[in-house]
Every structure is written in C-alpha cells, then in structure tokens.
C-alpha cells in the first residue's frame, strides 16, 4: 500500500508576523518555519500505518527549494521519501493553484490513501486537500479524529459540533487530520540523521503537465494590515438611557460596526 501525506511549510505559530515593505506580503526574513502542526498529525497517522504493515509513505509538497527543509521533518518522523513540485510561481499561487500542482504530482503515483492536515496554520484556507481529492476524483473526509483501516475501506470519525460523525469510506480516499487523531512523535535522533539522506524527488510544472497560467489566480492582494491591538474592556456609567446612547455612539464612531443608512 502506498500512502501520500500532503505537507506545508508555515511560519511557527509563535512567530511575530511582520508585513513587508510592499504592504501586500509577509516579511519572511527572520521567520522560523515549521511543518504545519495539523500536518504533523497527518504524517503521524501515515507512519503509524506503515509501522503496522507493508506501507510506503511519500511526503508531497509544492513550493520552492526551502520546502525540502520542512519535508525532512516529516521524513524524520518516519516517511520514506518525498516528492516536491518545485517552482517559484507556486509561492504566489492560491489554494486552487497549489491543489492543481499537488494533484498533478499525485495522479500517477498510485496511492491508496492520502492524508493532510485539516488546514495550514499560515493562511488557514482549509481547502487545498479537499480540492486535491476533487481533482483526483476520489472520496474525502475532512477534520477526522478517528481512523481505522479495513479491507479496501476505512472507518473514520469526523468531529462535528456537539458530537461525532462516523463514516465508512472506500479507498482510495483522502483525509484531513484534526488534533485528536493521534499524538505526533518527537523524531528519534537516528531518524533525523537518516532523513537527511532520504530521497526528495523534484518535479517541475512541465513534468506534471501544468503551465504557469494554470496556477495563476485572478485573486490579487491589495494590502495587508495588522489586527488592532487588543485593549481592555470598557464599563459605561450613568443611567440606562445615557449608557445606551453612549454605546450606540461607540459602535458607530469608534468601532464602526453600525452605519447610518443615508437617506
């Protein structure tokens, strides 16, 4: 059996994000990049299956050369090899474009199972994995926190509000991992060392039959701004009519959450 895990290189969640001088992008200098935390759960699930039976685990990513560093983290956890769709244009692509690249790499790999994190913690798009499944025309279930492999099918548990949703899905299929699925391992040192020597195959856009135009999106970022700094709560004083008046005023003038419709 062959399992693929889709991973993404993201800034560490504790990083202080700075907007670049063009006001449209994030300053990446000095940022510490890691394997997206939900992807760790995806890798862990694949590696656990590999430990139980004859499985090959391939890590798949799309982006620039720097993605290899992140992929090595997944290889250190126990994945066997990697495939990177490498092109600088991918860095600017949206979820749709990345999904096209990944699906292009995956379509001829003959994988039975694909795992991914439920979302990447940088832009939190929550769509690439699902798009890949659609492009490959296979079943998928997102946000799973339970997984049992059967004969040609799997039983998964999806987390839904106020309960859980148990499903049986035939293979091949794609699943995105939620936190409760497992506890990602801390790599053993010999595996960290071995990971440095494991193969990461590079594919160009041409190799997967995708043109730059295919992954260019019509979406354009016009500007970025920081969330407003959090300030303490305010307690309004005075009698009720006065407080209501003040509250409405604040919501209108300071917070700008209600507008006066022009006549």
């Amino acid at each position: 059996m062959k399992i693929a895990v889709i991973v993404k290189r993201v800034p560490d969640t504790a990083s202080v994000i700075k907007i670049g001088p063009d006001n449209k992008s994030v300053e990446t200098d000095g940022l510490k990049f890691v394997l997206s935390p939900y992807d760790e759960h995806a890798v862990e699930q694949a590696v656990q299956l590999a430990e139980k039976g004859e499985c090959e685990v391939v890590v798949v990513s799309a982006g620039g050369e720097e993605c290899k560093e992140t992929m090595r983290m997944a290889l250190a956890m126990g994945a066997d090899s990697g495939v990177l769709v490498k092109d600088d244009a991918i860095t600017k692509a949206t979820g749709k474009g990345v999904a096209i690249c990944l699906a292009g790499a995956l379509k001829d790999m003959g994988v039975d199972l694909i795992f991914a994190g439920k979302q990447a913690v940088d832009d939190d798009g929550s769509q690439v994995a699902e798009r890949v499944a659609e492009l490959l025309n296979i079943s998928h279930a997102s946000v799973i926190n339970g997984f049992i492999l059967g004969e040609g099918k799997v039983e998964v548990v999806r987390e839904i509000e106020g309960g859980s949703y148990n499903m049986e899905i035939p293979l091949p299929a794609l699943f995105t991992a939620q936190k409760g699925l497992n506890t990602p391992r801390y790599p053993k040192l010999p595996n960290i060392m071995k990971a440095k020597k494991k193969e990461i195959k590079e594919l160009s856009l041409a190799d997967i039959g995708v043109s730059e135009a295919d992954i260019t999106s019509g979406l354009e970022v016009t500007s970025m701004e920081y969330p407003r700094e959090r300030s303490g709560g305010r307690v309004l004083e005075g009698d009720t009519p006065a407080r209501v008046a003040e509250l409405v005023n604040i919501l209108k003038e300071d917070e700008k959450v209600i507008y006066t419709q022009r006549a």
Partner: protein, 700 residues
C-alpha cells in the same frame, strides 16, 4: 617513676605453653587459614571477576590516573580526617571512632606481633615496656573504648532509631555484632589478665592499672573471682577473641566491609571538579554513532561501573534526595546497588575472550534490561539533577549522571519521555525557549528600561545573559528588570542580546536531549563570538552553570558571573547603597545550581544583610544542604505525577520559619515556590522574591 622491666606485661600470658610454642603454631595456623579464606573471598567471591567486569565499560572516561602522588595525598588526607564523612556529625563521629579505634588496635596488635614473634625471639629485644608500654596500653584502651561506644551507638541507630532511608540486610547485623564481640571479648581478656595479675596485692604493676582504663573498668565485672578462675576464663575468652577477629578479617572479603579498600580507591580516582559532569558527547558522534546514551550497562565508563563497587549502602544519598523525600521511586543508593547486581548478570553475556565487552545485539540478549528492569523509567525521570546525592556521598560516587545517560538513550533513541516534554523540546527547537513563545519577543521586557542591545553597543563590558525565564515569564521579567535597574544604578557597562539571545540548553541537556542542547549551545557560542563577548552576567543559575562550566566543551570560554555575585560586589564597592528600610522577616531558598554546583553561598546572604532592617532567618536545609525546588533537570517542564510535590515540601519549610518573604536567586525556584505558597494557601501572607528585587526595592 618506676622504669625498667617491671612495667610491661607478658605476651601470651596464660595462653603460652612452656618450652614449646604450641599456642603460636595453632594461632598462626588459624591466621593462615583466615588469610586463605580472605583471599578465596576476593578471588572466588568476586574481586578479580569484578575487576574484569569494571573493565567492560566502553565509554571513554576522563583521565583518572594523572598526578598519582597528588591524588594519593588528597585521598589520604580525606581518609584520615574523615572530612566528608563528618559532614553528618553523628554517623560521622561513629565512623571516625571505629576507624581510628580499630587503626589503633591493629597498630597495637602489630607491635605485639613484632615484639613477641620477631624482635624478642630473634634479637632478644623487647620494647613494650616502661613509659612506652604505658602509652601503648593507654592508646589501645582509648581507641578500643571509643570503638566500643561507636559500635553501640551504631546499633542503637540501626535498630532503635531506624532511619527510614537506611536499608537493613543480614550482613549489616553480622558486622555490627562481630565488631561488638571483638571489642568486648578483647576487653574481657585484658580485664581477666588484670584480675589475675595486676590487680592482685603486691603486683608491681599495681600503681599503673588505670593506664588500661577500659580494661580496668571491665575488671570490675570479674572483681572477686579467684586468680585460678580468672586464668581459666581468660584462656577461653582469649581464643574466642581470636576467633572473632579472624572471622572479621575473612568477612571483609565477603561483605560491604570491602569498602575499606574500594572506597579509598574511588576517592583516589575522583575528578577534581566539584561538579558531577555529564558525559561529553562530541558533535561528530551525532553523525557517526549508531546509538546514543546508555541502555546497556557496558555502555557506561569503567569508572561508572567501579562506582557501583565503592558504594557501601550508607544511604546518605537517599536521605537527601528530593525525589525520595517526596515518595518518588528514586533512591540513588538503590540505583547504584541495582546496577552492581545487574552488571554481574549482564557480564555473563557480554564478556568477550579478550576481556572487552562484545557487542550483543538487543534482540539476542535475553537477560534483564538495564532500563525498565534494573532502573525503572520513572526512576530515571524523577531526578531533578540537584546533585544532593553526589554532594552527600562519602565515597565520591556520581549517582545521578548515570540516570542522565539513560535519559539520553530514551530521548534520542526511543523518543520515550514524559509527553509534556514534547512541547518544551519543540519550543526550544523552533523558538529557542521552552515556553514556545516568539523568539523575536525575547528582548521586549527590557524596552521600558532602554537597556542597550549588543548590536548597538558592541564594546559593552558585560553581556547580561537573561535566559528564557527572565525573558518570557511575566513574573521573572520583573526580576530581570530589577537586575537591569540595579546594574544601571551602579553604572555597570552592560548590554543584552535581545532577540539574538538563545536558550542556554540546560533543560534540554539534562532532560537527555543532547542533540538539541548542542544545537542551542552552538548557536549561542556563535552569537557570543560575533560580539567578542568576554564577561557575562547570568540571572538563571542553570544558564550560569552551563555557560560557565559546560560551554567550554564546545569551545565557548567566558568569565561568567551570577547576578548575586555582581550585586554583592557592587555593594562591597559602595556602588549600590540600599537606603530604604525593609519590614519583616526574610528566609533564603538557594538554588542547587548555585550552592552545590558552584559553591556560591555568601553573595545572596550579603545582599539580604545589606538591606536596612532585613532579618534573615535561615532555613534548616541551607547552603550545600539546601533542598531542591523540584524544577531542575528539565523537571520544570514535566508534570509531577508521582508522590507528593517537592515544591510544597520546600515551601512548607520556608513558611515554618515565620518569614513573610522567601528570597530566591533562581527563576525556576521563584516559580516553584510561588506555586508552593499557593498550594499551601499562604500566597497572601508570604511573598516570594528574587534577592535582586529585594535589593532593588531598597535602593532608591
């Protein structure tokens, strides 16, 4: 004074047979047999076999044989003065009396042997007479008398006071009773001889009976018995005394008594540093070695294995261990003893024909495992690396570093560690701090004070290395602020690294993640090198210790001071003048990494005493006996799931002094004791503060 030949005693009196030395023949026959059994014990019972076992140790050790003369002198001084043993006054005094008492008795017996069987028969020379005889008799009696009291005290301690940490085996009983019987029978022999001769009217020795004071006292037991009866009884007890003494000699080879040889050797072999160093792993090891840390006993050094032999189970390490004192499964003595037994088992599998350990693959070895069976994982993780065991050990055994070797294996080879550590390791890896907070914000605490960064002030005399806690933990940021304010008030030329500072690597190293520790250390060494850092002030004793004592292993050598040292110096120089009076009583909790690791004892006291109105009330366990807060060795990041809480144990002790302020000198201690006051519902009445904060409040 009567000199000449009347002041003496007859050797072999009453036991020698006229004209034929049958007594000597029988006696030396017995001595010969005893010696034979002693040697048999050493060979068969283990010494030679064990010698081979120690040599199984694979890991390379420090040079332990350089400067043999210096080592021998130091060991001899240590043994003769009992300096370490006397650190526990009662048991120390008992051992001191036994040691010196028996040494005197052995010397006396040797003199008797020399005169009776060498100089007298061969040369006709006797020397046990006159004033020398009186001195000889007095010395032997006092030595033996003290030894007798000591044995009785030891018996009372072992069987009536029964300290919980003392383990009792049959050989402990055998040894104490044998000692008691040797001494008592010896004094009975002397007393019966006196009763039959010196105490009889008209005996020329009559005036000198009190030169054998203990014998004279014992003689009261036999007062009134006839000369004949005393003589008969004397003969019987003389042979009994001989039998006990020879049994004892034989038993040395078969029991913990062997420590009288092994412990001095271990003292001779001890390392110079007061530290108990963890094994150095050179960075190349990570590229080439197949296994890291220790999971087979033969992976230790020969000295580690020898340590197991030098232990005579006194239990001092257990008595002081914070894990043991809070009902965790760690007893350092038992770790060492279990390793000793395990070595015996394991050596059967791994002893190669050349005497070296052969590699037995894990799958092929069917005996008990070192980790899990000989030493439980919980035991290995219970250690706070406070070094109380090493400090207490009179045999200079390094107990806890052996546990860190096990952690190294568990972490690096098995990825098997308390799960809370996962977050801490990842934090250190990604953000260079175990809290996993953004590395860029490390220097933010200092912004209100306008502390210069090294990048802005490259020629600053001191680098103030703040450490993770002082940089990221809200409470400890206040301590860093106090230290920086004091340095500013005193006009010290210093700067910080801000976001360029990295985690010191102490928690990673002591939690067994040596690979991560070395990455962190190398990162810092590189940064320090870029600014040509020479002098460092550190706030966290853990950072202080590793920067000062362990960075050199990877090429980083600096002059490192803890902030208490610098502040005490600034007070001495009059650059800080505390003028504001402080109300209330202060007690001082000291960090293990200052006291036992680095002998910093007076600076925090000097600082507190410099504050007007401060009344320092010492904790019972202070200075080198200070009790751990529970956070060392990476335990800061692990949950304390077994036993009771170490921090509460220590906080209770501090609260009991009646102090309203607990002074600390370590960010981990500050956190642990603050939590302790909360657990005890005392956080309203008792405040925990760093000494720097106390001083800063007093310096307006």
């Amino acid at each position: 004074m009567n000199t000449g030949n009347t002041i003496t005693r007859e050797i072999y009196w009453n036991v020698a047979v006229e004209s034929f030395p049958v007594t000597q023949i029988v006696m030396y026959g017995l001595v010969f047999i005893a010696m034979g059994l002693f040697v048999h014990g050493l060979v068969k019972g283990g010494f030679l076999t064990r010698f081979k076992m120690w040599r199984l140790g694979i890991a390379t050790d420090d040079d332990r044989l350089s400067d043999k003369a210096g080592r021998a002198v130091k060991a001899l001084v240590e043994i003769l003065t009992h300096k370490k043993i006397l650190e526990r006054p009662v048991m120390g005094a008992i051992h001191f009396c036994l040691f010196w008492g028996f040494l005197t008795l052995v010397a006396a017996t040797t003199l008797v042997f020399i005169q009776a069987d060498v100089t007298s028969p061969l040369l006709g020379v006797t020397f046990l007479k006159g004033n020398f005889y009186l001195f000889f008799s007095m010395a032997a009696d006092i030595g033996g008398g003290l030894a007798l009291l000591a044995v009785m005290a030891a018996l009372v301690r072992r069987y009536f006071l029964r300290p919980a940490w003392l383990d009792n085996r049959i050989q402990d009983t055998t040894i104490l009773w044998l000692l008691l019987l040797i001494l008592a029978s010896g004094f009975c022999v002397e007393a019966l001889r006196m009763q039959a001769t010196e105490l009889q009217a008209g005996n020329p020795m009559g005036p000198y009976v009190w030169f054998s004071p203990v014998g004279r006292l014992f003689a009261f037991l036999f007062a009134g018995s006839s000369v004949k009866a005393a003589e008969t009884f004397h003969r019987f007890i003389w042979w009994t005394h001989l039998a006990f003494s020879l049994s004892f000699i034989v038993y040395i080879a078969y029991s913990k008594l062997l420590h009288m040889f092994m412990t001095p050797v271990n003292i001779f072999l001890r390392s110079d540093s007061q530290q108990a160093p963890l094994k150095i792993m050179s960075p190349e090891i990570f590229e080439n070695a197949e296994t890291f840390g220790v999971h087979n006993i033969e992976e230790y050094t020969w000295k580690d294995l020898f340590d197991t032999e030098a232990c005579m189970r006194c239990g001092r390490c257990v008595e002081v261990c914070p894990a043991y004192n809070t009902d965790k499964p760690l007893r350092p003595r038992d770790v060492i003893q279990n390793m000793r037994n395990h070595l015996e088992e394991k050596s059967k599998f791994v002893m190669g024909e050349d005497g070296k350990a052969k590699i037995v693959p894990d799958e092929e070895y069917k005996g008990p495992a070192l980790i899990g069976e000989c030493v439980d994982k919980d035991t290995a993780w219970a250690c706070t690396t406070c070094m109380a065991c090493v400090e207490a050990c009179p045999a200079y055994i390094h107990q806890f570093p052996k546990l860190i070797d096990l952690r190294r294996y568990l972490v690096m080879m098995e990825s098997d560690f308390p799960e809370e550590m996962n977050e801490a390791f990842k934090g250190m890896e990604n953000n260079s701090n175990p809290w996993s907070l953004g590395a860029e914000t490390r220097g933010d605490w200092a912004k209100p004070l306008n502390v210069p960064l090294m990048a802005e002030k490259q020629d600053a005399e001191y680098l103030y290395y703040v450490g993770c806690a002082g940089s990221f933990d809200d409470r400890n940021q206040k301590v860093s602020t106090a230290v920086a304010s004091l340095l500013q008030k005193a006009g010290v030329d210093f700067a910080i690294l801000g976001a360029e500072e990295g985690c010191c690597g102490d928690s990673a190293r002591r939690a067994g993640n040596e690979y991560l520790a070395q990455m962190l250390i190398q990162q810092n060494i590189e940064t320090f090198g870029r600014y040509k850092v020479k002098k460092i002030i550190a706030s966290c004793p853990h950072g202080y210790n590793i920067l000062k004592n362990e960075y050199a292993q990877l090429g980083g050598e600096y002059e490192v001071y803890h902030h208490t040292e610098i502040l005490a110096k600034l007070l001495d120089e009059g650059k800080l003048k505390p003028n504001k009076e402080l109300q209330g009583k202060i007690t001082l909790h000291e960090s293990c990494y200052l006291t036992r690791y680095n002998s910093i004892l007076e600076p925090p006291r000097k600082i507190i005493n410099a504050v007007p109105g401060a009344q320092l009330s010492e904790l019972d366990r202070n200075r080198k006996n200070s009790f751990c807060c529970g956070a060392g060795g990476g335990r800061m990041w692990m949950e304390e799931k077994l036993g009771t809480a170490i921090n509460v144990n220590r906080t209770q002790e501090a609260v009991d002094t009646g102090a309203d302020t607990i002074a600390s000198c370590c960010p981990y201690c500050l956190t642990m004791l603050t939590d302790g006051t909360k657990s005890l519902n005392k956080d309203e009445d008792v405040k925990v503060k760093d000494v720097a904060e106390i001083l800063n409040e007093a310096c307006e």
